[in-house]
Symmetry: C2
Subunit: 252 residues, 2 copies
């Protein structure tokens, strides 16, 4: 049986400012290889699988600063045109500023998800500036006493494979879960950041606007104020904060 590992790599990048004076807006991004597939790695027989994954990320981006966790193992032969039969996916969060090098074939695509009213179908547009990849995903929910089962289907044809679309979908769901229960949000940012930057990470992952005053209070125990002050916009400068290492939550 042939096994492959692959990565769903998320990052958050600043878009162009709408107005010189205003804040930069962040976008959630994902890395695709040039053939619209996810970056892969080989699972060596002699190496701890997570170590293989970590080593590959270090090799690809020449940094050891990133978040990584196992996402899911896929084994539906229908998804494949290749002869791989099992794919172990790792979810990675990386701050672009830590990337020292990257294969030419990789590009970061902005993720835009539309059709939010219709929860069972999502229109996704991936955009790397040069190329746009569009697709629709249906979510079918089967509920009964024994189970709640989600099945995702790619609707129609797309440049992207069904498995890739489903992995992106599953990855975003995992991010949404993790951002509420862990400190993953900080992995998107520099060591020191403005609260508004952190809020933007929450907003792009949860895909909704948050009230700044309330957000500030909610994340207060997770952060520490530094004595540094930086101007993000043309307006009042903000203090820089860091992650509070003493913060403990019942991480799941």
């Amino acid at each position: 049986m042939k096994i492959k590992g692959n990565f769903i790599i998320f990052s958050a990048d600043n878009e162009e400012r709408k107005d010189v004076r205003r804040l930069k807006e962040k976008k959630l991004q994902v890395v695709l290889d040039k053939n619209n597939s996810l970056p892969t790695f080989d699972i060596s027989n002699k190496e701890y699988i997570k170590k293989s994954a970590e080593n590959q990320i270090e090799l690809l981006f020449k940094t050891n600063k990133f978040y990584i966790e196992q996402l899911y193992t896929w084994g539906d032969p229908e998804y494949y045109t290749s002869n791989t039969e099992l794919t172990v996916t790792y979810l990675v969060i990386i701050n672009k500023k830590n990337i020292k090098n990257m294969p030419d074939s990789f590009t970061f695509y902005d993720i835009n998800i539309e059709n939010k009213e219709k929860a069972n179908q999502q229109d996704v547009i991936l955009n790397n500036g040069e190329k746009k990849i569009q697709y629709k995903i249906d979510t079918i929910i089967k509920r009964n006493r024994e189970n709640v089962e989600y099945t995702n289907k790619l609707v129609g044809k797309s440049e992207i494979s069904e498995l890739t679309a489903i992995i992106i979908h599953t990855g975003i769901k995992r991010l949404r879960n993790r951002i509420e229960n862990t400190n993953i949000a900080f992995s998107f940012l520099d060591k020191e950041f403005a609260i508004s930057e952190l809020q933007q990470i929450y907003e792009i992952i949860l895909d909704k606007k948050l009230v700044a005053a309330n957000f500030r209070k909610k994340i207060d125990p997770m952060i520490k104020k530094t004595d540094k002050v930086v101007k993000e916009s043309a307006y009042r400068p903000s203090s820089r904060y860091t992650f509070n290492d003493e913060f403990i939550r019942n991480w799941v």
Copy 2:
């Protein structure tokens, strides 16, 4: 590379009554094969991996009523004495009353977790009536800005393999998460049940006593009252309830 699938199968059984008049107490149980290992299945190249897992459970227990979800894929060669190099684990919840048949080599072990005060070490005792398997698990937590990493280690020697111990540990953690966010609790019970039975499922999974009055209110939207009344104990009979199919939550 050699791949195996295996199962961490949970069930809840009634213990002996302490007093004829009192309620039966439930115990969380797990299935082990006779060599203290977890039941396995073969991952066929031609079959959807989840289907392989489901088919095997159906074959082993002669029922199609069970809950199943993928738990994790393990690949640390240190864990193995055998020549398997990758193990995909599925978590299964089964109500014993639905089991029509079972291999002789399987037994259900009660799970007792002690040393609760010391959160970083757990004493586990598995007991099937005839045999007791004891072991200790250490949880090492590494926290930093990029990650919160849990590493579990089997302390000392045990009749159970380290991977098996870790899978049980991980399975219980998953159950705890799922019981708060999904309807898995109902998979342990008959279609119709008393609220106290449901509460016992929550209690054995969360490993703490709950206040009946509050529990009742909390789960009220998830259940429907039937007109059936049954005596569980020698005292006031309870109404039977069923899962409310209309109940919708943001299942993760």
